[in-house]
Amino acid sequence: MTFDLSQPAGLMGALGPDIVLMVGAMALMLFAAWRPESDAHQRTVGYASIGIIGLTAVAIAVYVLRHAAASAPGGIIAVDGFRWAADGVFLLGAAATIALGIESNPRDRVYTAESHVLVLFATSGMMIMGAARDLMIVFLGVELMSIAVYVLAGINRGSEKSAEGALKYFLLGAFSTAFLLYGIALIYGATGTTNFAAIGERITRFQVAGHGMLLIGIGLLLVGFAFKVAAVPFHMWAPDVYEGAPTPITAYMAASVKAAAFAMFLRVWIEAFSILDVAWLSPVWWVAAATMLVGNLVALSQRNIKRMLAYSSIVHGGYLLVAVAAGTATGASAFLFYAVAYTLATFGAFAVVNVMSRPGTTGAAISDFDGLWTARPWLAAAFGVCMLALLGFPIFGGAGFFAKWYVLQAALTSPHPLIALSVVLVLTSVVSAGYYLHVVRVMFMRPRPDGAPEPARLTPLTRLVLVGSVSLLLILGLFPGSLATWARHHAVDTPLASRNPFVRVPID
């Protein structure tokens, strides 16, 4: 069926799921403000938010079923499989965040029901980022997401750390947005358009491939992006923000915000700039290598579990940058697979951190996990699985292994095989074993200290998130075939790859 995105009706249809989410979020925002803050009210709003996420998922499913074969090249909004697949990952993360939040909010003395609605707004920003085929839409999505997340980071008004983190995040985030915007302006200056497909086409037609303005624009775009995913050397804000934010929000930032930025940038690189891969490959290469190296080394010395996981999330950004550097459809598939596995592992891990945190503190010290195995064997085992998944270990780490595998596959099968970067990836993975295994070690091999507090019981929603993510991880680790096929069929098309003059013959 033909499908014209230049017609209002067509555009409305393509934005249907986003509209469902946004309208639902706005209505819920009114409802949330209607009643005074209380635990019961925030619970109601939380459940309603999960309901809206479910509705959005249904809207996506309906759209995909009705327009299975539809593809509309060009336009400002993509309707390809990559968008819907990425949306699925964002919605999964949002649902898990809210589920954890409903139960941890009272413990943190956060009764603002808006916290759940803000997650919905941030998610709608992510969905726009995943769909954007125009730099202006990119900017719109980034801002919609970021502003909601700035607020979420500081939602715990009683905590100094939370306020400090939120302010830091806001200032640096605003700064990075300026880079992004300036980059967009320069790219527009060089090519006269903000549409991805048109940019790619005009770079060839106007022969501006080596033009300074364009290259600086791309560079600034990269800086803005690196801020969002906390890639080295733009990562300084992440640990403080992750430590200060309420635990479910930290998980959301570590998993979903990162996934959204990557989804957006994969599309930008592949659809607009794949012709220029020689220009951006080298900076991305170095940023990826530096991120993996610095993130892993610094993570080794962390004593707070949330800070450790913050550095670990920086590191995973580095691994995903390897998939970006591949710059191929396989890279996009690898990202999707990775995003699913990483989202599951992150939410599983943070669900445990949530249980282990003492009320009124930010996160827990790693030493609080000493001998957890003797007190709560299944909790320790579940956390161990999440750690090994983040480490990328087969079987015990479930899908984490195949996620890393897929990234390596993308790197090695790229037209410019990234062998050295793959070696950096695996060597830094060995370093990461140092801190992931340290957690396993304290849980299983140290005695439980006398007088250590009994960890809190798992509340139903937290249990659901934890059991769900861990069992999905393990199942996907044994049978990753269907997820791999799904990821492969939902990659970004590479319209320009065939015309890429820079494609070199694979070398040994």
Partner: protein, 527 residues
Amino acid sequence: MQSLMASIGYNGWILTTLLLIPLAGAVTLVAQARASGHADPEARMAAARRTALMFFVVEAVLSLGLWWSVDYVSADWQAAVSVPWIPAWGIHYHVGVDGIAVILILLTTCLMPLTVLGSWTSVREKPHAFYALLLLLTTGMLGVFMSLDLVLFYVFWELMLVPMYLIIGIWGGQRRLYASLKFFLFTMLGSLLMLVAILYIGFKTGAGAGAPVFDYDQLVAAGNYSTTAATWLFVAFFLAFAVKVPMWPFHTWLPDAHVEAPTAGSVVLASIMLKMGTFGFVRFALPLFPSAATTPAVRSAVIVLAVIGIVYGALVSMVQPDFKKLVAYSSVSHLGFVMLGIFAFTTQGMQGALLVNVNHGISTGALFLLIGMIYERRHTRLIADFGGLAKVMPMFAVMLSIVAMSSIGVPGTNGFVGEFLVLLGAFRTQPIAATIAATVVVFAAVYLLWALQRIIYNPLTKPENASLKDLNWRELGLLVPLVAGIVWLGVYPAPILNRTHAAATRVVVQMGGVAESNGATQSEGGR
């Protein structure tokens, strides 16, 4: 026997069953642990070890059929099963065995019940978890010997790592945390580089076909890489396996891990897990990259490392005050022999190497079990703390002497046949290395005999030792099969040599080495 096996379709299901039984055992133990929550600790321990032993015995009995059911001459994989696992990435569940694999599988399945008996009374804390991990470990080890798909192989290879890490780290000795992490990191460093190499060859071979290729046979058939690429790929595999062997200078994890591990862990590490490395060379590194492995520079480098390992292991063993550490370093020396035999690229050397593998599995496993027995009685492993044990523990002294003779390689024991074949094979192509290695055999006699003298023969001076009880029936019972193996292989190794001949020759031919007919080896091996 063969027709009986065929009538029940034995070859069709045996390998998968061998992989599944330990898994089922592990699940059973976990369920049992939940059910017996607050029972008396003694009862819990008894229940756990009984269940584990049952599964291991079933596993061993079932596996024995492989001895007869497999066609050892055929060039095809035996008892093979191939099912697509992840079709999108061309990964299959493809298992199968040849003579080399069968021998190592049988070594594993037969040693595991003895290992459980060996730790019968020593694992008091969380016994269910201990035995569940031991069972899980067994699946991983057997999987490595069977895998014919490189990704499947890698998964099993890593599967072994976590249970062993936990076994050392939870039930180990004083410095268990350090030792377990070192063990994990060393192994992981090597194996991740191997993963990149596996991916590289898989995608390169499958580039034309649309899907990557990880099937062993296809990769071996396809392998034409440029000299540089082949060398780097070989290096990646080499690192993974050299750490595991362990070759000097990648051996430093071994003394720590062996010494800190509980008895069962040490036995499994020494007897079976160390075989992974040399098996990896024979099965994967050599056939996949014959051009790189036969390059004179690479080959001499490996042989030099092997000889250094032989000399170094023996010399360092001599000065160890801790008996367990002494045995651990002697492993470096023995495994150096295996590497020398493999890289001699002669059928005799290769078969000798496989035989040394088996011998080392039996004798070092037995040594660790014996050390565990006196450790349980005296809670020390320092050689200086003993002396004159022959008077109070005569049976222990007899057993230790026999096993030590086997480890030294005294004629009439299995150790002699293996080392002799290695030296014979190596002398043809590497006379200098073989000469050095042969000389060093003397040191093995020095360190073990000296230790024997100080432990069981010197006068009984320490009062603590006067009241030690001799071996009980369980301990004797588990040592008897090992001693029987020592004598059997020492006097009549032909059954094993016949079974490995075709497989060993195949590898040697792939490497362009010196292959001999079966008759020659048989007569030499049968001396």
